[in-house]
């Protein structure tokens, strides 16, 4: 068994730190709390992944909350036309 390299599953290969750093530079416009670090290290890469996940979770929650709010707003007025009118006014 010695000398035999373990094969990485093609379905879950590791994300390299460099890839994370590349992601950081692109994400920076969305996540201002990520500070640009000069050297790549595991901790900052993990932090970026964590921040990204939190950000996506927040966006999901916001979609959910906004859907609920819109539903409440629409139920307080008549069904078809005001809904269409409001939306049309934005296009």
């Amino acid at each position: 068994m010695s000398g035999r390299r373990s094969r990485q599953s093609s379905n879950t290969p590791r994300i390299t730190d460099d890839q994370i750093i590349d992601l950081v530079s692109k994400l920076h416009q969305f996540l201002p709390e990520i500070r640009n670090t000069r050297r790549s290290n595991k901790a900052s890469a993990n932090k970026v992944l964590q921040e990204t996940c939190n950000y996506i979770r927040n966006l999901h929650k916001e979609v959910d909350d906004l859907s609920e709010r819109l539903s409440q707003l629409l139920s307080s007025i008549d069904a078809d036309s005001p809904e269409a009118a409001i939306i049309r006014s934005l296009i």
Binding site: S6, L27, N46, L49, R57, V63, S67, I86, I87, R88
Partner: protein, 163 residues
């Protein structure tokens, strides 16, 4: 009216389309689900670079509730086939078992593999179709997904502030 990106305009157009086929008499919760469904399908239906998460999202939506298919097809403007591009729960289980077997055969490493895999696991669960993507693709898809989510939220927020 503030200037909107073409992505936002396309989303709004498709979202509106989906909302048009909503039922008249529905509870607040039912309407909320309908609003959310149309919004999610609409953002997945916008044309853009990445396609994996979009396809995965639409497959998820149809799998959750087959009646959602008519909303999907109405917004897309064509038939939608829930093809086996996604792993089913059964095949996913088989994949996990065979992966475990491969890991047992591999020599032990100093750094525990589980920790390295874990750090992307959360992200994989958040991005539609993430479980089946490799590292590079996952990050690319994540970026595109975030951009799209932002557009979706911005438009919905704008609409909600009118009331």
């Amino acid at each position: 009216m503030k200037a909107r990106s073409s992505l936002e305009r396309e989303f709004l157009e498709k979202w509106r389309k989906g909302l048009q086929i909503g039922k008249e008499d529905s509870t607040i919760l039912e309407r909320k689900d309908a609003i959310k469904l149309s919004a999610d399908v609409a953002i997945a239906a916008t044309k853009n670079a990445a396609t994996h998460w979009r396809r995965a999202l639409l497959c998820d939506v149809v799998s959750e509730n087959p009646t959602n298919k008519h909303v999907v097809e109405h917004i897309l403007g064509h038939k939608f086939k829930n093809t086996a591009t996604r792993l089913t729960a059964c095949s996913r289980r088989i994949l996990r078992i065979s992966q475990k077997r491969r890991q047992k055969a591999a020599p032990r490493r100093v750094v525990p593999k589980s920790r390295k895999r874990n750090r992307s696991r959360a992200l994989r669960m958040l991005v539609p179709g993430g479980e089946e993507m490799d590292g590079v693709l996952l990050l690319q898809e994540t970026l595109d997904y975030i951009v799209s989510l932002r557009a979706q939220v911005d438009v919905m927020r704008c609409l909600a502030s009118i009331g």
